[in-house]
Amino acid sequence: MLYRKTITYLSLLLLCLCGVFACTKGNGTDNQADKLDRKPMLTHYADEYVLPGYDALLQDLNALKDKATAFTANPSATTLAATKSAWQEAYLTWQTVDMLEFGPAEDISLRSYMNTYPATESKIEGNIASGSYNLETFGNKDAQGFPALDYLLNSQSSTGTIDLYTTNAQSAAYKSYLNNVINKMIEKVSAVKTAWGTNRDTFIGATGTDAAGSLSKMTNAVVLYYERFLRSGKIGYPVGAMTGTPLPGHVEAAYSPELSKALAVKALESYIAFYEGKQYNGTAGTNGMKGYLAGIGTKDNGVLMADIISQSLNEGLTALNGLSGTLKDGVSNNRVAVLNVYDKLQGSVALLKVDMISAFGISITYVDNDGD
């Protein structure tokens, strides 16, 4: 009797097992990344980098607004210098959050309002002359943001600039354009910050490695940023790395040549800090992409890929810091040195775009240029 029962149970068990095996498709890939908990990393980025980052930028933009208000109320060498200085501070802070074009910033396309360069002078002057313009339109992306402010504040001597805001027939229009551009920037950053407030939980909850997951969206955005906006936008395009033709007018902050390199340095320093999992205030942490990559354990020749990437990014930073003179002059007159910096920056692209992406078990969802 017992024997019979055993047989019955065994048959039932066999039946169950067969049922499971017969109809389940094996999920072939056994990715190490799938086993890691991504929530601490996403929480770190949302709470310790993104939110404080936009706070800092908003603070700087509001300070800029105050200085610009004082300048337009009473244009003088002192108030102009204070406005320029606040603009520079805010522009440097922008470099710390420029890489975050995913989620709300992507929805709003923040970068296109903040930093489309080079600015088109004819559009800015046309808008000021006509007095009728809408900074939301596609035709005005290159007539606003930090680059337009650079033109408005720095394209002439201090005296020349003050004249525009005092004796010039259109001084009122210049004043209002300056303030409108700053207000638009504040409006956009505020919108992103507010949206992040509600998006935060969704962001840290989307822990999958699929294209809709936060890891894929964030990683794609920062890798794209590195190759297209940091490497190419700041260095490669102005030096003509692909064309051999320098475009000095295409450096970032073209009217403030002494600032271009500092902006690039700030951008790369921020990028490294972001990758390494530092908090926005600079405090070291382990919950960043680097820590996650180290957790996966991918190695090359016995060295952790996580460390190889840090080292490569830092080599780029060293090269960039070592560049003498301004970028605007360098792209024409110191090409070998600038191209060397480009090559050092280029060295990290494959590590980020191929090695890190594949270790993360995600894929690149953007392309370099339009197919047709």
């Binding site: 048959s11 066999l14 039946l15 939301e136 596609f138 294209a211």
Partner: protein, 387 residues
């Protein structure tokens, strides 16, 4: 004890059988279970002599015509175009094509297959629309030597020809005909009631296929000319061998909610069902194909609109927008379209009718159009396709 062993063995057999879908496969001329994503479409369907019964020369011919027309329109970036030549290509009159075989195919034209499923009066409106676009491209091409700006036709990023309103009409033509010709022919004409009610018993005089089977193949021929879909270029695995509609639908992969291989399986299985005279299965495939096509076009349209917002130059922005607008137009050619002709036209007008055209658009305008398409079609409004 023996009884119980037998019982469990029986249960096991039953269980295994339950995982198998088509128990009657053995009775079918073309068993469904043997069809895979790389099954050869041509050799699967053969006559008794072993010759394929698949033929869609007419479709391939029209796609080649579209290829030449599209290539000529793109020359507007380097020369002033000849409007008569463009219209001749559209109508296949006066031997306009470089490929003599196309000129010789005088019974094949793009114009006759533009919006063919519409009422004659409405089809005429669509044909006039494309003729109007040709005239705009011709006029813009006169400015090929100068950069474009708001109010000025010319080139953006030295490679995109736009009119004074920033509209790259060549893209509206290319993407628009993917809908008005290719999608319409597949979803409404060849998979439509009339063509699918054709005879499936008699062999067409002088041919080796039934009328119904041939109609199915003609639908397939508007998607691809290859023996399966999608197909990589063997010489360069980063490239694919489809053009136009087949190429764009292929780009809507599984990561963005599409499945080109599943679409292919539907074509394959539907054709097998016709051979098997199994109209229930065939009808299921028709429904799947129509749904997949509409979803793919909606996904591409939304993707291009999203890319417009993050583009980094006026050229890239306007180019992406023109592509998106072309697909917004094409949505009306889906079967029983969720974004129907009236809605598609309304969305198109919202994007094209500002005083300075595309130059006056804002993210808000784009989002309003995008969100309506997303709501109507059930596609994620944030989708971005890796084109």
């Amino acid at each position: 004890m023996r009884k119980q062993l037998l019982l469990s063995a029986g249960a096991l057999a039953l269980l295994l059988a339950s995982c198998k879908k088509d128990t009657k496969n053995d009775d079918l001329k073309v068993p469904y279970s043997g069809l895979t994503t790389t099954t050869n479409y041509f050799t699967t369907f053969k006559d008794n002599a072993g010759t394929t019964t698949v033929n869609f020369d007419g479709q391939t011919t029209r796609i080649k015509m579209l290829t030449e027309l599209d290539a000529y329109l793109k020359k507007g970036t380097t020369m002033t175009l000849d409007l008569a030549k463009i219209e001749n290509m559209y109508r296949n009159t006066n031997a306009p094509f470089a490929d003599a075989a196309l000129n010789a195919a005088t019974d094949k034209t793009i114009i006759s297959k533009t919006a063919q499923s519409f009422s004659t009066a409405n089809a005429e409106i669509e044909r006039q629309r494309f003729l109007g676009y040709f005239a705009k491209i011709k006029t813009a091409s006169e400015s090929f030597a100068q950069p474009a700006a708001s109010g000025t036709a010319g080139l953006l990023d030295s490679k995109y020809l736009v009119d004074a309103k920033g509209i790259e009409y060549a893209q509206l033509v290319q993407k628009g005909l993917m809908g008005a010709m290719l999608l319409d022919q597949i979803s409404n004409i060849y998979l439509g009631e009339e063509k699918m009610n054709a005879d499936n018993i008699a062999i067409v005089d002088g041919k080796n296929y039934t009328a119904m089977a041939h109609h199915w193949d003609e639908a397939y021929g508007y998607l691809t000319a290859n023996e399966f879909y999608p197909k990589q270029n063997p010489a360069d695995p980063t490239k694919w061998l489809e053009v136009f509609l087949g190429s764009y639908v292929r780009q809507v992969g599984t990561s963005v909610g599409g499945d080109p291989s599943a679409l292919y399986l539907s074509f394959l299985k539907g054709r097998a069902a016709i051979v098997n005279n199994d109209l229930t299965t065939r009808n299921q495939q028709i429904a799947s194909i129509r749904t997949a096509m509409e979803k793919a076009i909606a996904t591409i349209a939304i993707s291009y609109l999203n890319k417009t917002k993050t583009a980094t130059s006026d050229g890239a922005r306007m180019h992406s927008l023109a592509e998106g607008v072309g697909f917004v137009y094409s949505l009306r050619y889906a079967y029983n379209a969720k974004v129907n002709a009236a809605k598609s036209q309304e969305l198109l007008d919202n994007l094209m009718n500002k005083p300075n055209g595309f130059w006056d658009l804002t993210n808000t305008d784009i989002d309003a159009v995008r969100d309506q398409i997303a709501t109507l079609t059930g596609v994620d409004k944030n989708v971005v396709v890796n084109h």
